[in-house]
Amino acid sequence: MKLKSTPSDKSLIRAKSNETALSILLSFIIVLAITILSGPFAFADDSYQLGHGYNIGPFNFAGYSDIVVNIPDEGHKTVGFGDLSLFVTGHVTPIFNPFIEAELTHFDFISSERSGPDRGNGSFILERLYDDVTLTDAVTFRFGKMLAPVGEWNQIHAAPLVLAAVRPAVTDQNFSEFLTGASLLYGDPDGETPGLQLYWQPAGELFEQPSGITPDQYQQVEGLHITYPLSLRDQIGFSFQRARDIHGIDQSLFGLDFQYRVQKLTLQGEGTYADLSGHTAGLVRRTELGGYLGASYAFAEDWSVYGWHEEFAGRQIRATSRDILGGVAYRPDPAMVLKFEYLENIGGTPVNPTGLFMSWSILF
């Protein structure tokens, strides 16, 4: 869950575009339902597995839902969809492997604010739209709109897959989360040598995110990500991203992230440093620095406790924000999780609000 950072001042235009977006999403769901119900087109007679989607020919239809309850100490209390995402994966030929992900985000069923810009009317977002061209077992060329490989959290940000309902600021607030352009990916088929991804976005973002969801928007992005595998799901990652935002601010970001498991204990973290130049006159800082450390411990088969601590000094933050979060998670299935957590701002300018947060998320 990404907490809303600024109210939009274009609510009328957004309401109109959201209407269209919701119509598209509804149509998509109806087509999906009809297709699923038309059994004869199904890809043989495989059994549906929660989290694995549904196969129809060379296409797989899947998604995730994230119902969230936000009870910050100050500000609006809400219940609604953090995300309702649908994604389609196709493996048709070695050169045609399309992927599309669209989602409805910030859609409140109940809100303590009856109307106004902070009311979550929902935004329709095209998160990813790309094609993969398999060059060899190890090398893939990707073009279109994709997630930027900065840290592990950004790449697997679906609510059922991440540590906590509230996302540490450093995992999404100081870099371009998406890129529209081309990328070259290398992955060792044996999983023993480091993986590499190079990417380049020459102009603006395709289907740009609303400013209420992503305050910083980027026009030119390039970078690389290196992953050193430690085991199947454990790794150390190094990220570099150079980007220019729509205000003409140039930034060079360096990031380090890791994930490491020891029996029932999982440790993870991410740190970034960014140097800002160009049109930086209105900024509080010329450098951004932040990091979080998180852990979870499975104390029973389906239950775990988790937490993270973060320090974040963003470009518009005068006093370094310091947050601490603790929670408990119930995961009856690998694709389903209920999280109940409390976040406390323990110093500096708050980035995430102090309060109680819950989420019920399912990968389907």
Partner: protein, 141 residues
Amino acid sequence: MFQLFRTLVLLVLLLPIGVAEAGELLVIANPSVDTDLLTAKQIAAIYLLRVTLWADGTQIIPVNREAASDLRAQFTTALLDHDNAGLAAYWNEMHFQGKLPPLVQESEAAMLAFVQKVPGAIGYISAATPAVDVKVLAHVP
């Protein structure tokens, strides 16, 4: 007598070659697959979604048994070296990144029928089940 003894010895020596032993798994593939043999490492790379195409460019469709299956436990222990929960979480993450987790077939007969029918499919069955109309790519002790 000596001739009979020599024949018996030869038979015993030949048994490991191409003959399934009790408790073994057979890794099988659709007859259209343009490969005759896979190593344990190659099978792991397929099920961990690191390799997605056969040599001729056809999509590989890995098939698993249901999570509670003893055969799946045997296959997972022998070749994938991780527990079911860890693999399930891994496949969910890979799925979100555009790679499809292995399909699931909930019986030996369904697994065999699927692999027989679907081009590019790879799966596994008990060595006690006759591997009819499929290619056997590996024996897993």
